[in-house]
């Protein structure tokens, strides 16, 4: 696996600029800005945007892309990110819907509404929930939406003042406690037990009338299915506590089990993980939120409703938490997820899930053969957390993997495992890829133990070597220094 890297110091777009150079021309209209706005409102100095030709823009970004790896170039086993193949058919489909304005008469985008409605129905079926919003723009946005729904529920019942606490496991993704804070709650952590699952007794001790919700993901971030989930959700409900499901790990179980059946009241999905819409280098995503019937009144507006064969946007929801964003949702992402589900069908989703688990378990065994330990070695689902052989650091192994042409797994998360390597291969990787990855890690570990200096200096073949993060953080330079 190799990729091309242009050599030398790569220029910034601003450094390619030449005063007076023009690129793409937009449509023009002859007009006098002063006549339209008067002199006082006009901008004095123009923004220092690059003055380059269109060809220079094309070369710049084309070559920039060659300084970047993605699923399309490389095995990318980031834990809890589900870096599966993004079928290009999804892009082709989304292009059919680009020219719709959200403020058009809804009678003129019935096809789009039909798609949104259908997607909502599919996601409800997959998660076992009763109502759904497609509004949130990402997983964390979905988390916030879901937690605000829970908040509104407790407030409506006059219990919000007493229920100020949200429980999260110590293995939780950082966005969970951050979300709970943004939703106005205090966070308390619950420990994991020796098997890596939530310590149910410790959790039960925390439950009470002061708790609003528990945020969980299942399988958890160690890749293990919480086997006592039904007892857990029962105990929570008995204390009037609502259950929130972080859907980041749904890929392991989609079609096989449903969070709704496990007892969850709110579920968010990451369409850009489980449903194969591209990650985009950091978005856009989409984070639909499904709820049980008792929470439906609080969902954000608008919802998509169907009447006969017509679709409309329903804004008339007096108990709604309001809006969490403008317009209706990341529609372009919704189209992609819709197409993915239509291509796979139920059997395809189940098979994808099962193969993601097969791949993870198989890779785990291969890595154990290479001397990596897996502290929580239960029945692995779609991901697992490994530790390097003694003395080696996850960071160093990650850097050396880059030289082998792989994207490293997530490192140093979850926090409960030292030198954690959180590995999620996904179902779209072949047996050979998994074996090659295990080989590579084995070689790196072996060589690293003999030659620690070599390991500490990796990577060697990327466009830049290890970067001085201390400098970047002590003296932040976040814009081009023009002067």
């Amino acid at each position: 696996m190799s990729y091309c890297w242009p050599e030398g110091d790569f220029p910034l777009i601003f450094e390619r600029a030449k005063e007076g150079r023009r690129g793409t021309r937009p449509p023009r209209v002859e007009a006098d800005p002063e006549a339209l706005f008067g002199p006082e409102l006009l901008r004095e100095a123009p923004p220092r945007l690059p003055e380059v030709s269109e060809l220079e823009v094309v070369r710049h970004y084309t070559n920039l892309s060659r300084r970047q790896i993605g699923v399309n170039t490389t095995f990318y086993p980031l834990g809890s990110c589900t870096m599966k193949y993004n079928p290009r058919a999804l892009e082709a489909a989304a292009a059919r819907f680009s020219d719709l304005h959200p403020y058009q008469d809804p009678a003129s985008f019935q096809g789009a509404l039909a798609l949104m409605y259908a997607l909502g129905e599919y996601l409800k079926a997959i998660t076992g929930m009763d109502a759904i919003t497609l509004q949130p723009a990402a997983g964390a946005h979905g988390e916030l939406t879901g937690m605000l729904v829970i908040r509104a529920y407790h407030k409506d019942r006059g219990e919000l003042d007493q229920r100020r606490v949200v429980l999260v496991p110590d293995s939780a993704h950082g966005s969970n406690p951050a979300t709970a804070s943004m939703a106005g709650f205090e966070v308390r952590e619950v420990p994991s037990d020796a098997d890596g699952e939530v310590d149910l007794e410790a959790l039960k001790r925390e439950l009470g009338e002061h708790v609003a919700a528990i945020m969980l993901t299942n399988p958890n971030t160690l890749g293990l299915f919480e086997r006592r989930i039904l007892s857990l959700t029962e105990a929570a409900h008995a204390a009037g506590v609502q259950l929130y499901y972080d859907g980041a790990n749904l890929n392991a179980i989609m079609g096989w089990v449903r969070p709704g059946d496990m007892g969850f009241d709110v579920v968010h999905l990451n369409l850009h993980k489980t449903f194969a819409t591209p990650h985009g280098g950091g978005g856009p995503g989409a984070g639909p939120v499904g709820v049980k019937a008792h929470l439906a009144p609080y969902l954000p507006v608008p919802l998509v409703e169907k009447e006969g064969d017509r679709y409309r946007l329903d804004f008339d929801r007096p108990k709604s938490i309001g809006r969490v964003r403008s317009f209706f949702g990341n529609f372009g992402v919704l189209v992609r997820a819709y197409v993915y589900i239509r291509m796979l069908g139920l059997e395809g989703l189940k098979r994808a899930a099962a193969l993601s688990v097969l791949n993870a378990r198989y890779l785990k065994e291969k890595l154990k053969e290479k001397g990596f330990s897996v502290p929580f070695d239960g029945p692995t689902m779609h991901e697992f957390v490994a530790q390097p052989p003694a003395g080696l650091k996850a960071l160093d192994l990650a850097k050396a993997l880059l030289d082998k042409g792989f994207h490293p797994p997530t490192i140093y998360f979850p926090l409960i495992v030292k030198e954690a390597l959180m590995i999620e291969p996904t179902e779209t990787e072949s047996k050979e890829t998994l074996e090659a990855f295990a080989e590579a890690l084995g070689e790196i570990a072996a060589r690293g133990q003999e030659d620690p200096d070599w390991l500490a200096g990796a990577p060697y073949t990327t466009p830049v070597g290890r970067l001085d993060e201390v400098k970047a953080n002590r003296k932040p330079v976040l814009t081009y220094p023009f002067d």
Partner: protein, 428 residues
């Protein structure tokens, strides 16, 4: 069609290596009452069939010529934007944590941050947020953190959807929202919010508002238009501390309202309050220039419950599209686009006002959007225009009975503007 490469033989071999026989065995340890629920989904389709199905759905939409605004508009997108932004290296990567192999995206973010800072006239911008509305919410929360206050004054002419989102976010943390008009600033406000150009398109000098805010110890948060500021005084030049907005007009299709991207820029002293990702400049051990994610201690994966925001995935690919469009157009091209937009909007405004019973709500100067008071229900007008292949007259009842919002962009030709005007005269 699940895109998994495994042959049946490989599956058998892998299961065998694990001491298992069937794929179902992988789930054997799960509660049996949970397994294999009844889920009804349509049968799978191969690629050609699903694309034809999507075509059929698309035929049930009527695109048409767009004369609508509200922060999202039908602007010119250079053809290279699609081509470059949809390259698999950019599209299928995720968060650039492994900086050495992510210099493409990190540098693109750094360049984008610079461009947004330039456009807004402020010092530093982040890597993007979800949309204009949530960007405003984040900007206001930033101002409240910085001033340690819990009151927000918001102008009535800020986009209604943005105000709704703001209310949702502020309710959660117990901050209060006061709606204001003009330069009055209530006591105890930590953030004073205005939109520029405002929701009805009007452009006014907000320097006095900035001064009023500062006099009361509040920060001035301005929701602005990324194209308008190519031509007009940017928020940084008239005293804004935080500028936010919807980035869609730059290089992004309308897509029925998303995905787009929100931008946020602040004065240097507020840098560490910024939510979301930041790309920073540094060097590697050999002295080569490179980029990394910077000031991560603000973010959720480190700071957890005390993070500035819970945001993780944002809208990177859409921000990249904007950066490519800005690079392609350059300052001259962008200014031309802004001027053409404003000129077309003014022309459209004049023509529409010639219709009987139509009165202006927006007064010049205005940028791309403007509001009119019609003599009948704008829903009906919008519907009839749509039947004629035009999209305009968005009802905005909050601002007056029969009030409707219109917009123009540089894409409209004279013929198109006149054709719309004729249709409008007929229908109104």
């Amino acid at each position: 069609m699940d895109f998994a490469p495994h042959t049946e033989e490989e599956i058998r071999a892998m299961l065998g290596a694990l001491g298992l026989e069937r794929l179902e065995d992988l789930y054997a340890h799960l509660d049996h009452e949970l397994l294999n629920p009844k889920i009804t989904l349509p049968p799978p389709m191969h690629e050609d069939a699903v694309l034809r199905h999507v075509e059929a759905l698309a035929k049930k939409n009527q695109p048409g010529r767009v004369f609508l605004g509200g922060g999202v508009r039908d602007h010119f997108i250079p053809a290279i934007v699609d081509e470059l932004a949809s390259r698999g290296e950019f599209l299928t990567a995720y968060t650039p944590y492994q900086a050495e192999a992510s210099q493409g995206i990190l540098q693109a973010i750094f360049e984008y941050q610079t461009m947004i800072a330039e456009l807004t006239g402020l010092d530093v911008a982040n890597a993007s947020l979800y949309d204009g509305a949530s960007a405003l919410a984040e900007g206001v929360l930033l101002a409240l953190r910085a001033t340690r206050r819990m009151r927000v004054a918001v102008d009535r002419r800020v986009h209604p959807e943005y105000r709704q989102v703001l209310r949702t976010y502020l309710d959660a943390v117990g901050a209060t929202l006061v709606e204001t008009e003009g330069d009055e600033v209530p006591d105890g406000a930590g953030a004073v919010v205005a939109q520029y150009p405002d929701f009805l398109g009007e452009v006014r000098d907000l320097a006095p508002r900035a001064e009023a805010a500062h006099a009361k110890g509040a920060l001035f948060v301005v929701a602005t238009d990324p194209l308008a500021v190519a031509l007009l005084k940017p928020p940084g030049a008239f005293g804004a501390d935080v500028a936010v907005g919807e980035g869609q007009p730059l290089g992004n299709p309308m897509q029925l309202g998303g995905p787009h991207f929100g931008f946020i820029a602040v004065r240097g002293k507020l840098l560490r309050q910024l939510p979301g990702r930041l790309a920073g400049l540094t060097t590697d051990h050999a002295g080569r220039r490179g980029f990394v994610l910077a000031l991560s201690a603000r973010e959720q994966h480190i700071r957890r419950a005390k993070a500035k925001s819970n945001i993780t995935t944002n809208s990177q690919n859409m921000a990249l599209r904007a950066a490519i469009a800005l690079s392609a157009l350059g300052p001259e091209g962008l200014k031309e686009m802004a001027l053409a937009t404003a000129a077309n909007a003014r022309r459209l405004y004049q023509l529409l006002l010639e219709a009987p019973g139509v009165r202006p709500l927006t007064r010049p100067p205005f940028f791309a959007e403007f509001a009119l008071i019609l003599s009948k229900n704008p829903e009906e007008v919008r519907r009839k225009l749509a039947e004629r292949g035009f999209h305009g007259a968005y009802p905005i009842p909050e601002y007056g009975e029969h009030a409707a919002l219109f917009a123009a962009t540089e894409r409209l030709t004279e013929d198109e503007i006149e054709a719309f005007a004729r249709a409008f005269w007929e229908v109104v």
